[in-house]
């Protein structure tokens, strides 16, 4: 193994980029551990509380890119109260104090502040890339710091964050000499945008590949921007209010025709139905289309656009497309790999919407499909069994039937057999979300067949602790398990405490676990942080000794960690 000098081994390691593989390499021997340590460029931390910045820096002194994730997934649906945690500030401060030459920071579900962004922008001379996904706590002032101070910035990618828009001049903070922009995504900003500054920035960014605008960028500005950036690959349209046949529209059409590199289209945050036709000329090259925010576009217009998109690999759409529309997708988009269908009616009982027929059509027509997120009002076992037969290659399968506990609408049976068929056929399934009426049986199937499953989301499902036990015992590769409103209790929680060391985290809310059970778990497993998010403001009850049979009406979130209890938890989070 050590016939080669370290530099040669390091050079070989350079070709190994996946985190899992690099983790494996570091376990081979001490020498490899050391070489790998010093040469690791990209560090991924799936739970910011599993480790501290200091330990990170001790282990990897030379990294350039850091990915951090904070809040649990269910925070996306408002199940985690404000102030829970996930603060990036200590990380930025620690990194700033050290000598690490940070170039890229990718954060997901974390709390970021303007002060933190300012510190970030001043501390790392070669900082190139900032990607914030589902973060909050900062404003456009923080963006102004990044724009002003990061001379070598390439990417500023803001995805679905909650940003306080001070309607300031952050875009004009990019110096006139700054020309290295490659990615600019500010679609989630709600306020006005300085169009002049934006146009000047785009005009002096010859390397710009990805531009995603917010709703304050109107049609005529879009036309001018596209004329300045015909090399664009990925475009997010802001606002496209109908001005059919107007001068702006004609200019836009001319500009679009020149964008021969355009492969990805998204946005249409404010859009009139007819606007899509302007993009028909570029459809034949599109590989990615995200119209999931275009609530005002009728299904018929969506279909007309999609008919031209023969090379589409990724499609995110609203269910207004209907089953008919999905049939068009199935017959047109033979290269489709990922499909997400979002609901337009959150409360059920809608008449449009897609059904099991749409899902079956897609599975029959798109042989390369491997990821799906499908919101619908109804499903049948027969449909799921057909889907499983048509598409044994699913890696991610997420089905959300809007009404909890809804059975097969034809047979009134639970959907155990349908999901069972999915897990049995899809041997590479890594992520699964189940819904509808489900008994313990479906979990028996999951435990038996879903051997590669890493993430499972359960809501309103199961009958007894056995359900959860089937999963914990069977799914050896489980990393993230999130459960809500299901009758799993202490027996399941405590059956195999060591299992949680092999997982990143477990979330259980509105289940049957009790405070006493959680405390027992915390005692048995000191290497876990067992947190109760208590929203009832009843701290007194715990002190008065009420325990044992009390249900944890609130939320249990536990995760493995090497640094013990976190110190930044708010009062409503009890760490047991």
């Amino acid at each position: 193994m050590n016939y080669f000098p370290d530099e040669v081994i390091e050079h070989v390691f350079d070709f190994v980029t996946s985190h899992k593989d690099r983790n494996s390499i570091s376990l081979v021997c001490k020498s490899w551990f050391k070489i790998e340590r010093y040469s690791r460029q990209n560090v991924f931390i799936g739970n910011c509380y599993s480790i501290s910045p200091e330990r990170l820096l001790r282990r990897f002194p030379c990294f350039k890119s850091l990915t951090l994730k904070g809040k649990p997934h269910f925070a996306d649906f408002n199940l985690v109260p404000h102030g829970w945690g996930g603060f990036v500030q200590p990380w930025i401060e620690a990194l700033a104090r050290s000598r690490v030459g940070l170039e890229e920071l990718r954060l997901k579900r974390m709390v970021v502040t303007d002060e933190g962004l300012e510190l970030l922008s001043r501390s790392f001379v070669n900082f190139k890339s900032l990607v914030l996904v589902s973060c909050e706590g900062f404003s456009t002032d923080g963006l102004a710091s990044i724009a002003s101070n990061c001379r070598h910035l390439r990417d500023l990618d803001l995805q679905e964050n909650e940003i306080d828009d001070h309607r300031g001049q952050w875009l004009s903070c990019f110096p006139e000499t700054y020309t290295s922009l490659v990615t600019l995504n500010f679609a989630c900003l709600e306020g006005e945008t300085n169009l002049v500054a934006l146009e000047r920035l785009v005009a002096r960014s010859p390397n710009l590949r990805s531009l995603k605008l917010n709703r304050a960028v109107p049609l005529d500005a879009l036309a001018r921007l596209m004329a300045c950036a015909p090399q664009i690959v990925d475009l997010g349209v802001g606002s496209y209010e109908d001005e059919q046949d107007s001068e702006s529209c004609l200019k836009l059409q001319a500009a679009i025709r020149k964008c021969t590199s355009l492969r990805s289209l998204s946005g249409f945050l404010e859009a009139a139905p007819h606007c899509l036709s302007a993009f028909h000329p570029v459809c034949h090259n599109l590989t990615s289309l995200n119209l999931s925010y275009a609530a005002e576009i009728h299904g018929s217009h969506l279909i007309k656009l999609i008919e031209h998109c023969k090379k589409l690999q990724r499609l995110w759409i609203l269910d207004s497309i209907g089953d008919k529309g999905l049939e068009v997708v199935a017959s047109t988009c033979k290269e489709l790999q990922e499909l997400r269908v979002f609901p337009t009616d959150l409360h059920g009982g809608g008449n449009t919407a897609v059904t099991e027929d749409g899902l079956v059509a897609i599975s029959a027509g798109c042989p390369k499909l491997h990821s799906i997120l499908y919101f619908c009002q109804q499903m049948t076992n027969a449909a799921l069994i057909t889907v499983a037969r048509n598409c044994p290659n699913f890696i991610r399968f997420r089905l959300c039937i809007l009404e909890p506990h809804k059975p097969d609408h034809v047979t009134s049976q639970p959907l155990d057999e349908g999901f069972g068929a999915i897990v049995q056929a899809c041997k590479n399934l890594k992520r699964l979300s189940v819904s509808g009426l489900l008994t313990d049986q479906v979990f028996l199937y999951i435990g038996m067949f879903a051997t590669q499953l890493e993430m499972l989301s359960i809501a309103f499902a199961g009958d007894t602790d056995k359900g959860m036990l089937y999963v914990l015992n069977g799914c050896k590769k489980m990393r993230k398990l999130e459960i809500r409103d299901s009758p799993f209790g202490d027996a399941a929680l405590l059956a195999d405490v060591n299992k949680y060391e092999t997982m990143r985290s477990l979330w259980m809310s509105s289940c049957e676990v009790t405070l006493g059970g959680c405390k027992r778990l915390a005692r048995k497993a000191p290497w876990l942080n067992v947190e109760i998010i208590n929203e009832n403001d009843n701290n007194r009850m715990e002190e008065n000794g009420y325990e044992g049979r009390q249900k944890v009406d609130n939320k249990l979130y536990l995760y493995r960690t090497v640094v013990g209890t976190r110190v930044d938890a708010p009062p409503f989070v009890w760490i047991l």
Binding site: D76, N78, E160, E243, Q413
Partner: protein, 186 residues
């Protein structure tokens, strides 16, 4: 069924008594303890029972369906716009060719076309000319149009007012050359 309700009453809970949590729990217990009612033969029966006893509280379940707030907001806007066709405040966008930004007006505030057009003339500072059934609007470069439910652009004034309010999705004051196609007299 009643026995489950009583069991719930005696349990110590973290929630305050008399809060919504209690009634939520009753419903949830009925749903989750379904299996205790019997074996598989009774499953259909108990599912049906469950549906009777647990009417889906669609609007009230926190964090369900699992859709981000940003997505919920766009759906809500769309719903509000279509809900308002009932007459509770029929807000529609108004654009005018050449104007830097759009306006919104409440159609239910006007009793008829005359009032509406007058209001638009004041808002955008223009004149709309005179309406003729055959030729449309004569005497002005501006033509008032609206987009109907089918996505088509129609001349304002052709259909009865009530029908217009119900089918109108947005307004556009067309100007100049585009307006000619709609029968603007030359």
């Amino acid at each position: 069924m009643d026995e489950f309700v009583n069991l719930k009453e005696t349990e110590l809970r973290l929630g305050l008594p008399g809060t919504d949590n209690v009634s939520e729990e009753i419903e949830r217990v009925s749903c989750n303890k379904r299996a205790l009612q019997g074996d598989t033969e009774n499953e259909t029966e108990s599912s049906m029972m469950k549906t009777e006893t647990c009417p889906p509280r669609k609007a009230q379940i926190v964090g369900w369906p699992p859709v981000r707030s940003s997505r919920k907001n766009i759906i809500q806007t769309k719903k509000n716009e279509s809900d308002s066709e009932g007459g509770r405040g029929v807000y529609v966008k108004v654009s005018m060719d050449g104007a830097p930004y759009l306006r919104k007006i409440d159609l239910s505030c006007y009793k008829g076309y005359k009032e509406l057009l007058k209001a638009l003339e004041i808002m955008f500072n223009f004149s709309v000319g005179e309406y003729f059934e055959r030729e449309g609007y004569k005497g002005s470069d501006f033509v008032p149009t609206y987009e109907d439910k089918d996505g088509d652009w129609m001349l304002i004034g052709d259909v009865p007012w009530e029908m217009f309010v119900c089918t109108c999705k947005r307004l556009r004051i067309m100007k100049g050359s585009e307006a000619k196609g709609l029968g603007c007299g030359v």
